[in-house]
């Protein structure tokens, strides 16, 4: 039963009753069984995420507000980048369907072409996910916690009574310099300016960032900006507790560290599937190119790896909805 599937059904693959009930080869059936077990793992992970989120008493971050950056672009584009990643994966799934279809016509040239596009799509997705991770880890400004209760008025005139221990968020220019300043980098210093305070970096690339405004509720709901005197009041009430981006111990997005941990684990586990999928696709691409399947007279290997590749797309559809959208 091992090895490649043969075209003629041998007596060995028939079941006890002299039938092959599923009418598929051993390899394809095992691929389906593997996918069912793998889907249970992902189902367990997403359910665990739902459980932790449902049982959380503190507000949970909103996907549109955490994931709203685009590479090389300023400004806010909620969920656009994740949607683009979803689209890339769907398209690379489509090119795989085309490769399988061409295989059924023993059209080697088309199989190789479509598999090539599929491998390329996989690499683009992996690159996008690397950018997404990097952005999540670096964060967009960072936050600090208050040491005492402060009352401020926001730019749109609302009054807020902030409590000791609440988080206040910096913009990314100020936060970018605040991180080395907190770490005691000698080239960065905090100085008084005409409007309040600013951070100044000396050295090879001297530049400075003014404390223009601070943000409240950045990742939760109803984000508001505070500037001028009130921003300075918040800055002066800062504690030692700063957060920049996310790591395994701390994150700026949520009070719950489990939020960052689930992001790393779920998207990381999925990304590892994409990575191994791209590698296997590449191997099958080379085998198809060298005519291995042409000599075997069927392209079932493309169909089997195709099942795995569609599965990776399927999982991402669920991750997109349950991690990012809801």
């Amino acid at each position: 039963m091992g090895g490649e599937a043969t075209k003629v059904i041998s007596k060995d693959v028939l079941w006890g009753g002299g039938q092959s009930p599923f009418s598929v080869s051993y390899g394809k059936m095992m691929m389906w069984y593997f996918l069912v077990s793998d889907a249970l793992t992902f189902g367990g992970l997403l359910t665990a995420y739902g459980f932790v989120r449902a049982s959380s008493t503190d507000p949970w971050p909103i996907g549109e507000q955490v994931f709203r950056a685009l590479p090389f672009m300023d400004g806010e584009y909620p969920l656009i980048y994740v949607a683009l990643m979803t689209f890339i994966l769907i398209v690379s799934s489509v090119t795989m369907v085309m490769a399988v279809e061409a295989g059924h016509r023993n059209d080697k040239k088309r199989v190789v072409t479509w598999l090539g596009w599929t491998v390329l799509g996989g690499f683009i997705f992996l690159g996008s996910q690397a950018w997404e991770w990097s952005h999540f880890i670096h964060g967009s400004g960072g936050s600090f916690l208050l040491t005492k209760n402060v009352s401020v008025t926001s730019d749109d005139g609302q009054e807020f009574d902030l409590l000791k221990g609440e988080a206040v968020f910096m913009d990314h220019h100020f936060g970018y310099l605040a991180e080395p300043w907190i770490e005691g980098e000698p080239q960065v210093s905090l100085v008084e300016s005409d409007h309040g305070v600013k951070l100044v970096e000396m050295g090879e690339h001297p530049h400075e960032a003014e404390l223009h405004s601070l943000t409240l509720n950045k990742y939760i709901a109803n984000e508001v900006h505070v500037s001028g005197e009130d921003a300075l009041k918040l800055w002066n009430a800062r504690s030692e507790s700063f957060s920049f981006g996310a790591n395994m111990h701390d994150n700026e997005y949520a009070i719950q560290q489990s939020y960052a941990n689930f992001f790393f684990f779920i998207t990381g586990f999925h990304g590892f599937h994409v990575f191994s999928g791209v590698l296997i696709n590449l191997i099958i691409f080379i085998m198809a190119y060298r005519g291995v399947f042409e000599r075997r007279k069927h392209y079932e290997m493309v169909e089997k790896i195709g099942l795995y590749w569609h599965f990776v797309d399927l999982v991402w559809v669920f991750v997109f909805t349950f991690f990012y959208l809801i």
Binding site: S23, S25, V36, L40, G44, S55, P78, M96, H310, F322
Partner: protein, 125 residues
Amino acid sequence: MERDDLIVNDNYALNAHHSEEEGAKIRRNTWKVTAILTVLTSLEVAMGIYFKRSDSFSWVMIKWTFIVLTLVKAAYIVLVFMHLGDERSNLKKAVLAPYILFVGYLLFIAITEGFGHMNLSNEHH
């Protein structure tokens, strides 16, 4: 009921070759499903950006809309792209039944316990 678990005319997956005309039909269907998946994803993103989260009933309905749209997309991927829809119904059941059973149970337990835990913590605060 007609039995579909017998190999009557050697309809084995490895022999499932098709002609150019059948291939053209399959390709047309694939592009159609691609268009559907793209439109549904765009709709989800637009809804995600447009509707603000709240405790209201309408937000609950939007969440359910997301879940339904996701299940529709998943069905297209599994039944058309992974062509489980064209397999013997035995294989279909062997793949789908255990999964739906286990995940349904897991979801029921986790959601019940998750909200129970939250209500308990609220009572203590």
